[in-house]
């Protein structure tokens, strides 16, 4: 049995354990959930250590027949790209459980249901990145919506039901288009060497399609992923969903689920439809640049701290998408690293914002003021997370953002130049809430807020440690990512542009 | 005598039944009009059976009679139930399907 399967089974077993604990022993339930997620995180780190970064094919592979009559297998395996994302997911899970210790209270159902949903979601988060069978991927891709729907609709705040439905409908719409494309691919595979859902075999199929077919199938996948990622103008579900969900759910939503979109662009859009990818690159780069600037402006104009963070994410996903479609090693590795880093900096921002609004009873920025003097640790955590979000050099996001910009510039200078204006806007959208909420005189209603307690400090410390450590020393991840992104580009037939002025030498 | 005359009678009967269903309010009358339409259909079936010299139409006519009998049982029961609860046999009073 592959260690990936073990990793996927662990949270499922954990959810069974949670299920048998009586509902009134809430503390036990939480401990069991936390223990499980920590165990999964450890096994994730072990997998990362065992991973051979020089090898560009899938590793820890396991393939079992599932529905043989349709050529469907339970097939899992990881390369550098999916390994990094799985690592991020399993590291975030225990942090989310620990940080949102009391999130399950005030929900529509009991704490038990909450943690079962979280654990089941964790299994799917691992599975969606590890699947090497397109059908398996699709099933998990859609099934992930279920726990998230209930987590938002059952435990969120405000207009939680409406937000959950909006999220579900948006995602289902994309999923439906993708299903059509998957069936199309399946039919084509049947005509050319036997029905299969194996993505390695499917990546040969573009040779048998004419350009119209390829473009249409590509769009089916891309729109689904663009909704997930979310790319302008398919983004409006994200602010609603993340503002209504509990902070922990929002972290998983923004940090992990949205990454499925950008992950899918690399794994499926590029690998399965290389020619269509090239055709649509100008459009996609344009949308990505619009997302960067547009998300930043909306973040500047946001009055709610959670919506603000959601908008910053739209801007960041613009960077990731731009890096992916820049088709350079720097852009590609930068985008993959960006996915990892964004997970942590957004997690830090969202968790602290969640604590702030839980204490204040409001998430409107104007309700805060002068927190730095009342709750210094909380204010500092928010500040560092914010600095990471605006890509301050020395923190992790800088490395990835700069790689994306440099990588894009060598091929699409105009896009990179416009996107760079985003870094000034980033300074504004982080410093404006910092000034309003943390600086200035302590406004009424904020005098008696309590600072982070030990549990919250333990939850936020590893996030900040990772942000700082990867800012100075990103090599452990880059070493894993580089061969994978080089491999993708090689399959695409792209080589990095040579420096224009040194070509004559 | 031409067998087609039976078809004209059947058409006349069906029209009377259909108009009756649409026009009359009394549930019993509506019900009888439905029977009229069924019988018109039966007459047609039997006529065609005669014209074509096969028994298929007659067999279907028997089916129709059986179904009509069942329908009468259920339908009358409903009408009686409605009459008991509403003191009215007007079908316009029983517009429960709306909402």
């Amino acid at each position: 049995m592959s260690s990936l399967t073990t990793m996927m089974l662990l949270p499922l077993l954990g959810s069974l354990l949670v299920a048998v604990i009586p509902s009134d022993q809430v503390l036990r339930i939480k401990q069991a959930a936390l223990g499980t997620t920590i165990l999964v995180a450890i096994s994730g780190i072990l997998t990362w250590l065992k991973f051979d970064s020089e090898n560009t094919s899938f590793q820890f592979v396991q393939s079992v027949e599932w529905i043989p009559s349709f050529g469907i297998n339970y097939a899992v395996g990881v390369d550098g790209l999916s390994l990094v994302l799985i690592l991020m997911s399993v590291l975030l899970a225990p942090i989310v459980v620990l940080a949102g210790w009391n999130e399950s209270e005030g929900g529509r159902w009991s704490a038990k249901v909450f943690y079962i949903l979280i654990l089941v979601l964790e299994t799917m988060m691992i599975g969606v990145f590890a699947a090497t069978d397109l059908f398996l991927f699709y099933v998990i891709f859609e099934a992930m919506l279920i726990p998230v729907y209930f987590l938002i609709g059952g435990y969120g705040s405000g207009e939680r039901a409406a937000a959950a439905v909006k999220f579900l409908l948006y995602s289902l719409f994309g999923g439906l288009l993708m299903l059509a494309s998957i069936i199309g691919l399946y039919v084509i595979s049947g005509a050319n060497g036997g029905h299969t859902f194996d993505i390695t075999k499917l990546s040969e199929m573009h040779n048998y399609m004419n350009s119209t077919t390829q473009n249409l199938l590509f769009l089916g996948f891309f729109i689904a992923f663009a909704i997930k990622a979310p790319l302008w103008p398919l983004h409006t579900w994200l602010p609603d969903a993340s503002a209504s969900a509990t902070p922990g759910t929002s972290v998983l939503l923004l940090g992990v689920l949205d990454k499925v979109g950008t992950f899918g662009m690399i794994r499926f859009c590029l690998a399965l439809f290389p020619d269509a990818s090239k055709t649509f690159t100008p459009v996609i780069i344009t949308l990505a640049v619009i997302s960067i600037i547009y998300g930043a402006f909306l973040a500047i104009g946001a009055t709610d701290i959670k919506r603000l963070i959601a908008y910053t994410s739209i801007s960041h996903f613009g960077f990731i998408t731009m890096g992916i479609f820049a088709m350079t090693t720097q852009g590609h590795s930068g985008a993959t690293l960006y996915m990892f880093n964004h997970g942590f900096s957004t997690a830090a921002l969202f968790l602290v914002a969640g604590w702030m609004s839980a204490r204040r009873g409001s998430s409107t920025i104007a309700d805060f003021g002068g927190l730095q003097r009342v709750t210094p640790v909380m204010a500092w955590s928010f500040f560092i997370a914010g600095m990471s979000s605006l890509a301050l050099p020395g923190l992790s996001s800088f490395v990835s953002e700069f790689l994306v910009l440099v990588g894009t510039f060598t091929r699409y200078p105009v896009a990179a130049i416009i996107a760079t204006f985003g870094i000034v806007l980033a300074a504004l959208y982080i410093l404006i809430p910092v000034q309003k909420a943390l600086h200035g005189p302590t406004t009424p209603g904020n005098e008696n807020l309590s600072d982070l307690n030990l549990r919250e400090k333990i939850a936020i410390a590893p996030v900040i440690a990772i942000i700082v450590a990867l800012g100075f020393y990103p090599s452990p991840l880059l070493n894993v990512i580089n061969p994978a992104s080089a491999h993708v580009l090689e399959l695409q037939g792209f080589t990095d542009p040579t420096p224009s002025d040194s070509a004559g030498k | 005598m031409s067998p087609y005359n039976y078809l004209y009678v059947a058409g006349l009967l069906f029209t009377i039944g259909a108009v009756g269903v649409v026009v009359r309010r009394n549930a019993i009358v509506v019900f009888m009009c439905i029977e009229l339409m069924l019988n018109a259909a039966n007459l047609t079936l039997v006529t065609f059976s005669r014209i074509n010299g096969t028994l298929d139409g007659q067999i279907v006519a028997f089916f129709t009679m059986v179904v009509a009998a069942c329908e009468v049982v259920v339908g009358l029961a409903i009408i009686v139930a409605i009459y008991r609860s509403r003191r009215s046999a007007s079908i316009d009073d029983a517009s429960l399907l709306k909402r």
């Binding site: 402006f297 490395v399 870094i423 880059l478 990095d496 420096p499 040194s502 | 079908i91 517009s95 709306k98």
Partner: protein, 630 residues
């Protein structure tokens, strides 16, 4: 090139101080400031050690490098965390750590009543570490880390008292305007990588020999934007005046002596690009000349002692940028003025801090006067700095500024005359407004309120001022004796033939400069010393004075051209997102609901109407079939 393993301590020591002080929290309140000062001093010690090592080697082996680890490596984009210490950076290292340590010592006393003194020292150490990283990085990307690091430290220190909303706004403004400059640096790095294939100093220098003019000009202009942002040069100068919201030692260290000169460092470090890109170089000169006049004019109108000094800083850095734009002849003089300026301006800021300390944090010079009697040490040290900045021989500023004016005249042709005259005019205005500061603060009759009791500051504060004053007196002479600094730096800039044909004889230039100074001083004396000064700023002044008081409308311009349209755009986009994009999404939902409720109306619940519909439908169907089959 020589390698070393000890360079990292220069940066690591103050960085460790910042981390320890921030993480230790209130536990470190008792000893935090001492540790920070000790670490800053030990970094200075390490700098001196490196200097002695450097002196012991022959000229061509003086530059040393240290590779710590591979920082980013993707494809051909390879950046090492590498340190480069050469003749240029050692000047900066000693200035930063030396002046930095003095300001640490000063702050122990200056900040002693602040409950957050530990945090202040943590920020100071963070600043020292970032600034050292800036000048020691061996590639543009490493420099960028330090570049934004000092921006962060500056942000934190300007907003140190951010409970005052105006101060919080000032810190945000500084950060955002710096970011615009940083964007220039990003562009420069991106262009360098895309066209030259390298972003390290050595790699870019090597590739620049074969690079096209257009490339180098583009990189040069982007570097200039970066420099303008960090060094408060036109048109990105607006933040510096507001940055005076920070505690005065911060103004002395960051916004006078070190950080704001980073732009000069960047241009001088990139000399190989500017030497090969005359257009970019011309722009550098123009920016320098405009800013030096601009700052000087603003300086004449300010009543706030710190803002007057800030305007003066802007103007003096204008001189440095001007010199740096004059090519190989000017680089060494830019650095020389930078170093002497570091001494006298830091000294004067500390003096201003000392005055504020004795005057209950009053900053309005119109409320000072006659402080000479109450603060003799401050008066003397400030006075020495004053003599240095206006360029009176034999004080430091005379040597460095004179050299710049002379080089400007020697630039040749109309350009030389224009630049030289601008520099001379700047010198005259500098003399005027600095004399004004001196008179208003120290020598004019007293105008302060009766409940104030001016007093000299404690020794911890005046000792650094004295040391800096000694520097302001002596450094000019030391640097120019036998052209020592020019020779010291020449391996960095490469050999070049000295301009032999002088536009004007040296003695004439010096004479002109001294005349300009004399004129400026005389006007100030007439206007302020020999006539009464109002305690309130007169309001019935000419339009020019009013504009100068408003910083020559720079904020007004920025607000009306960038801020307000930006805010309007934000509002429009927020509305668009809600009404148009999300509106479309909601429209899909409401359409579905609307269609449903419209269709529901046809369901009346009357069995007879259903029957009629069935009948009509059946007839229509039969008729349809009949028509089709006919």
């Amino acid at each position: 090139m020589t390698t070393s393993t000890s360079l990292v301590y220069l940066i690591a020591l103050p960085l460790a101080g910042a981390v320890i002080l921030l993480l230790a929290g209130r536990r470190a309140d008792k000893w935090g400031h001492l540790l920070a000062t000790a670490l800053s001093a030990s970094s200075f010690g390490a700098g001196l050690y490196q200097l002695s090592q450097m002196l012991s080697r022959p000229t061509e082996e003086r530059a040393v490098t240290q590779k710590l680890f591979t920082w980013i490596s993707v494809g051909s984009f390879n950046i090492d965390a590498g340190i480069l210490l050469d003749q240029l950076s050692i000047c900066f290292v000693l200035l930063i750590t030396g002046v930095g340590t003095l300001i640490h010592i000063y702050s122990i006393s200056y900040m002693s009543h602040d409950e957050n003194r530990r945090r202040f020292f943590a920020y100071l150490n963070l600043f020292i570490a970032s600034m050292l990283l800036l000048v020691l990085g061996d590639s543009y990307l490493n420099l960028y880390v330090g570049w934004e690091g000092v921006g962060l430290a500056s942000y934190l220190l300007i907003g140190f008292w951010n409970q005052k909303p105006a101060y919080a706004t000032a810190s945000k403004k500084a950060f955002v305007m710096n970011r615009i400059g940083d964007m220039g640096l990003s562009f420069a790095i991106m262009i360098a990588f895309a066209t030259l294939g390298s972003v390290s100093f050595s790699g870019v220098e090597e590739a620049s020999h074969t690079a096209s003019q257009a490339t180098l000009t583009a990189i040069g202009i982007m570097l200039l934007i970066a420099a303008a942002g960090k060094s408060a040069q036109f048109p990105l100068q607006a933040w510096l005046g507001d940055a005076m919201a920070g505690p005065t030692p911060v103004s002395a260290l960051i916004h006078a002596a070190t950080m704001v000169t980073a732009g000069v460092y960047l241009i001088v470090r990139s000399h190989f690009i500017f030497d090969a890109a005359p257009t970019a170089q011309l722009l550098v000169v123009i920016v320098g000349a405009v800013t030096l006049t601009f700052g000087a004019i603003v300086g004449t109108a300010k009543d706030d002692i710190k803002k007057a000094l800030a305007a003066s800083t802007m103007s003096q850095i204008g001189y440095m940028i001007l010199a740096a734009g004059l090519g190989p002849a000017g680089y060494a003089f830019a650095i020389m003025h930078l170093l002497t300026h570091g001494f006298f301006k830091a000294g004067m800021f500390l003096g201003a801090g000392s005055v504020m300390h004795g005057m209950n944090d009053q900053v309005n010079m119109r409320r000072y006067g006659a402080l000479r009697k109450f603060m003799p040490i401050t008066f003397v040290t400030f006075g020495l700095g004053y003599l240095a900045i206006i360029g009176v021989p034999p004080f430091a500023g005379f040597y460095s500024k004179d050299a710049i004016i002379e080089t400007a005249f020697n630039a040749g042709g109309i350009k030389g005359i224009l630049l030289g005259s601008t520099a001379l005019l700047g010198a005259a205005i500098t003399a005027f407004y600095m004399t004004r500061v001196m008179i208003l603060t120290f020598t004019s009759p007293e105008r302060w309120e009766k409940d104030q009791h001016p007093h000299e500051s404690p020794w911890l504060m005046w000792l650094p001022m004295v040391i800096l004053a000694i520097g302001s007196v002596s450094t000019g002479y030391l640097f120019t004796r036998g052209d020592s600094l020019v020779h010291w730096l020449s391996p960095v800039f490469g050999e070049h033939e000295a301009h032999e044909e002088h536009f004007l004889p040296v003695i004439v230039v010096s004479g002109l400069a001294l005349t300009a100074v004399l004129i400026g001083v005389s006007i100030a004396l007439v206007k302020y010393q020999f006539s009464d000064v109002d305690a309130e700023a007169p309001q019935d002044v000419s339009i020019f004075t009013r504009i100068a008081r408003k910083d020559l409308l720079q904020d007004t311009f920025n607000e009306s051209v960038f801020m307000r349209p930006g805010q309007a755009l934000t509002r429009i986009l927020v509305k668009t997102d809600d009404k148009v994009i999300d509106g479309t999404v909601r429209l899909v939902g409401t359409t579905a609901i609307g269609t449903g409720s419209a269709l529901r109306k046809s369901q009346t619940g009357f069995a007879r109407s259903y029957a009629a519909l069935i009948l009509i439908g059946a007839v229509a169907l039969i008729a349809g079939i009949w028509v089709v089959t006919q």
